[in-house]
Symmetry: C2
Subunit: 76 residues, 2 copies
């Protein structure tokens, strides 16, 4: 459980982030820019199959690569 | 109406994409990599306030910049 919940509560969504490289399990990635309620960017991945939502480490190079791959229209 | 709906239908989600630069209106951005059901990457923005969902042009330079800004932990 790395997410507080899916409401629009006025605080950060992520409690902890996934450290393992789970790029191949990712179905989609949602990016939340900083807001007055949460000063950090948050990246939440939805996993294939289960649709489980996992917070990713926004500073991890593999996370950046996953996003670049998606932008380049390549399969994960 | 640029989205077909939010189900997990086996086809592309976006029918048309927003051409205007709406970066400042964006609350979050979701990236969908290509799948067997949709060969194109899709980027769907959720707007501030209304939570309206809008498909973005994945090839537009301003869209790439919005994503880079989020990754750099900067406000939109």
């Amino acid at each position: 459980m790395s997410l507080r919940g899916l409401g629009v509560e006025p605080r950060c969504r992520c409690i902890e982030t996934e450290s393992q490289r789970i790029g191949k399990l990712i179905q989609s990635v949602e990016l939340f820019p900083p807001t007055p309620h949460c000063e950090d960017t948050e990246i939440i991945a939805t996993l294939k199959g289960t649709s489980q939502e996992i917070c990713l480490d926004t500073t991890a190079p593999w996370v950046k690569k996953v996003i670049e791959k998606i932008l380049a229209n390549r399969n994960l």
